[in-house]
């Protein structure tokens, strides 16, 4: 792919802000528009921007295949684990209010919604980057 110094410099400046914006959307998911999915897609798009403005191999060194697989699995397992935690303490799947923490049930619910959002965010940011990087990588045909 053809890139120039202008594109690379702009990408280097934009990517941190893009990732910060994505993390803001994930963490503010319970109280404002957005959430794990939207923020995760934005952080994944920043990795795609890196791959587009430099080349695929440099993006591959930043977020390698193993890292992406690990993030993907971690997010999914965290989400399932939080659902199953509610089953363990005697509720139904993802029934947050029943978890015995020294807080009001509403606060426990808010905290768990935030944590589930973070888990979904980790899952989706690896997935969005993987979609692009696997499609764009060169295959020996």
């Amino acid at each position: 792919m053809m890139t120039t110094v202008v594109i690379q410099t702009i990408a280097r400046v934009v990517v941190p802000f893009l990732q910060l914006f994505g993390l803001y959307i994930i963490v503010h998911g319970p109280v404002s528009p957005g959430g794990g999915f939207q923020g995760g897609v934005i952080v994944g798009a920043s990795m795609i921007l890196l791959a587009l403005s430099y080349d695929l191999s440099s993006a591959e060194t930043k977020v390698s295949h193993k890292v992406r697989i690990a993030m993907d699995s971690t997010g999914a397992l965290l989400f399932a684990g939080m659902g199953l935690l509610c089953l363990l303490v005697g509720g139904v799947f993802l029934e947050y209010g029943i978890i015995p923490l020294p807080m009001a049930p509403a606060e426990v619910r808010g905290l768990m919604i935030l944590l589930v959002g973070v888990a979904i965010g980790i899952h989706i940011m690896a997935l969005a980057a993987s979609l692009f990087l696997h499609l764009a990588e060169e295959h020996d045909t």
């Binding site: 957005g34 939207q38 798009a45 499609l135 764009a136």
Partner: protein, 81 residues
């Protein structure tokens, strides 16, 4: 329905027809990108900022990039039959 919504909706229909009839696949992808962005504005008008954010990030960002990579791997012109 205000004049702004009328313009948005007619533009949306125009783009949806255009994306089918454009022969250049890269141009069709860009038209589809504009369609997604207009759709995001419509969703904010309908007081659904969550959906608008998803549409702007996925519809305009990820989908367009995947289409462009696919075009780069295949051919840009649609073949006549």
């Amino acid at each position: 329905m205000g004049i702004f919504e009328f313009i948005l909706m007619s533009f949306l229909i125009l783009l949806a027809i255009a994306v089918v009839f454009v022969r250049d696949l890269l141009a069709a992808t860009v038209v589809f990108l504009v369609y997604s962005l207009i759709m995001a504005i419509v969703f904010t008008q309908l007081k659904a900022p969550d959906v608008a954010l998803t549409e702007a990030a996925v519809g305009a960002g990820i989908t367009t990039l995947l289409f462009i990579v696919t075009i780069a791997k295949t051919t840009r012109r649609e073949e006549d039959d």
